[in-house]
Symmetry: C2
Subunit: 350 residues, 2 copies
């Protein structure tokens, strides 16, 4: 057991970013099985146990870190927890087929609370006909912990990675962006008001769309099906969990290309726009950095332009450039700014 | 969103047993995909995305609930966390191929601590040539949380469920039992001494074997390979995580059969036996109820007896009877007792 002796140094985890930490911890990972087609580093891993390929992705959600039960009902939490995992399979251009769910809950939670959580999960499974095939429940010392793993399937030729974008490709996005973030801002504001004045009624009228974007997102399996119907295989694809800017940089880095984005092309719903203004926020920054929209961001060759141009739920927001040209956004006023993981730096013009 | 309204009743989770809770929560689970060959209810689910079948199992481990870092070094914890998942695939007569690992840690943990954890995991992966293909890391509000999902593969005809035992089959077990439990007793005793008198040295000399049984168990992939080499496909199989008695009752229930076990045939290592005596425990009760041995418990037709009888690491401990005959153990003195999930009830003779 001499190979089981331990380290004695100490580096604080807070010194490492999330991606730095996982890169660091997994740097010694070796792959042994020819059935592992893709390991760490995309929305899902790809496994071949037969002619169709198995996609797998997993998520660990912890109360107080990943969700706040003060404004997220458990049924919504269950629904969203499943949907964000299904979204990872969609982002590979695959079809989600099975999930496993493990739950740990402290004695603060009743059976009925967990029933609500499961009911929301099963509603999400039902929507896309995904099977819940395993998992378990246990107690926790504190709060609620949810671990979800999703399996999906795809033909090998249909699987889309983050790394396939080519110079000249069009950058497309489904739906609209920034809404989930503005929904979160609304809920955070009402929570702060409630904590100050518990008997006040929440002011959420007219905000249904952005609240639903935050509380009940949908995995865009319909877009995967639409792409199939249009005979389009994207060259690269990712789902927008962290914000448009951050996801574009993933594609840029993994495809070794540059990105040119046009601010005026970014799809933003009028309610998102107006609510952002109400909060004195820049709607474009909300779309670039907000995250949790779970829309699909993908690139297609220019030759597919005619197939996609009439689609109402797809926006063409820019194009792929040479790696040497970097990652930039052209503002409505025609200025050019570098894209950063935080969105864009409006003070640092290129 | 009216289907997202919540329950208002309250039933304490402590009123439900672990299996009762998961059965209850998953009672409404529907399966949609023909690729789902087996969902909830065995050691692993079985998915068909091609000619070979994919096995999947998942585990959520929480500090203070599932492990105690006072006496479990992180590298051992990582090793064991992987091995107990691989064991679930072995228990289906499959080969583990890939794992995903998600970690959440509070600021109490340093980078080096997580490096140790991962190093132990990768050591276990290396032992059985399993690929770590995904997962993530995040912070937790309290303690360490580990979520592991394992994939394995098997030909459909080779997969062994808990439900296939037939009247007359021989009941076999690999290795020896009760050691992991006695290792835990040793560690718990030394922890209690340490908490009282922190500068005292732990008294663990000569206990290496049972400590290793507790801290560094191995998935019995070698037994799966041996069975293949002997051309034996068990009729039912399960790994021993909760104790021999509890696992036998799973086979009995799911196969709709009875069980007759012989106390004198249960394999117990001399160190386990002597340590149990030292603790004033009945060694047979430790083997029946101890758990965490991760040995394989399986049934084979009597016609396979000649193939298995000479195998040094396999014990034949009883046979399968008709369901109406119940589940019993014959003691060394020839008395017959009913087997319960807690082991046996030595005061309630049949």
């Amino acid at each position: 057991m001499s190979d089981l002796f331990e380290n004695t140094e100490r580096t604080e985890l807070s010194q490492m970013g999330e991606f730095g930490l996982i890169d660091h911890l997994t740097q010694n990972v070796k792959l042994y099985n020819s059935s592992t087609l893709k390991g760490i580093g995309d929305d899902a891993a790809v496994v071949s146990h037969g002619d169709k390929k198995t996609l797998i992705s997993t998520d660990l959600l912890i109360e107080g870190i990943h969700f706040d039960l003060m404004y997220v009902p458990l049924k919504h939490l269950g629904y969203k927890a499943i949907m964000v995992n299904l979204s990872d399979i969609c982002a590979m251009n695959g079809s989600p087929t099975q999930v496993t769910v493990s739950i740990a809950a402290s004695s603060r939670f009743s059976l009925e609370a967990l029933e609500d959580l499961y009911a929301g999960m099963l509603l999400a499974c039902d929507k896309w006909k995904v099977d819940l095939i395993g998992g378990d429940t246990s107690s926790s010392q504190k709060g609620l912990i949810i671990s979800i793993t999703v399996l999906g399937e795809a033909n090998e030729k249909d699987i889309v990675y983050r790394s396939g974008a080519k110079k000249g490709d069009l950058i497309c996005v489904s739906g609209d962006l920034g809404g989930a973030y503005m929904g979160l801002q609304m809920l955070e504001r009402e929570k702060a008001v409630f904590l100050q004045t518990p008997n006040i009624q929440p002011q959420l009228e007219g905000k249904d769309y952005i609240l639903e974007r935050q509380l009940k997102p949908d995995a865009r399996m319909d877009i995967v099906e639409m792409l199939k119907a249009l005979s389009i295989t994207p060259s690269a694809m990712i789902d927008i969990s962290d914000g448009l800017a951050s996801e574009l940089l993933h594609i840029s880095k993994q495809s070794k290309v540059g990105v040119k984005l046009y601010e005026e092309k970014i799809p933003i719903d009028p309610l998102t726009y107006d609510t952002a203004r109400e909060f004195n926020l820049d709607p474009t920054v909300c779309a670039l950095s907000g995250g949790e929209d779970y829309e699909l961001l993908f690139t297609i060759p220019q030759s597919d332009y005619d197939k996609i141009k009439g689609q109402p739920d797809i926006s063409i927001i820019g194009h792929i450039t040479d790696e040497s040209e970097g990652n930039y956004i052209v503002s409505k006023s025609g200025n050019v700014y570098e894209i950063t993981a935080q969105g864009w730096n409006a003070f640092k013009q290129a």
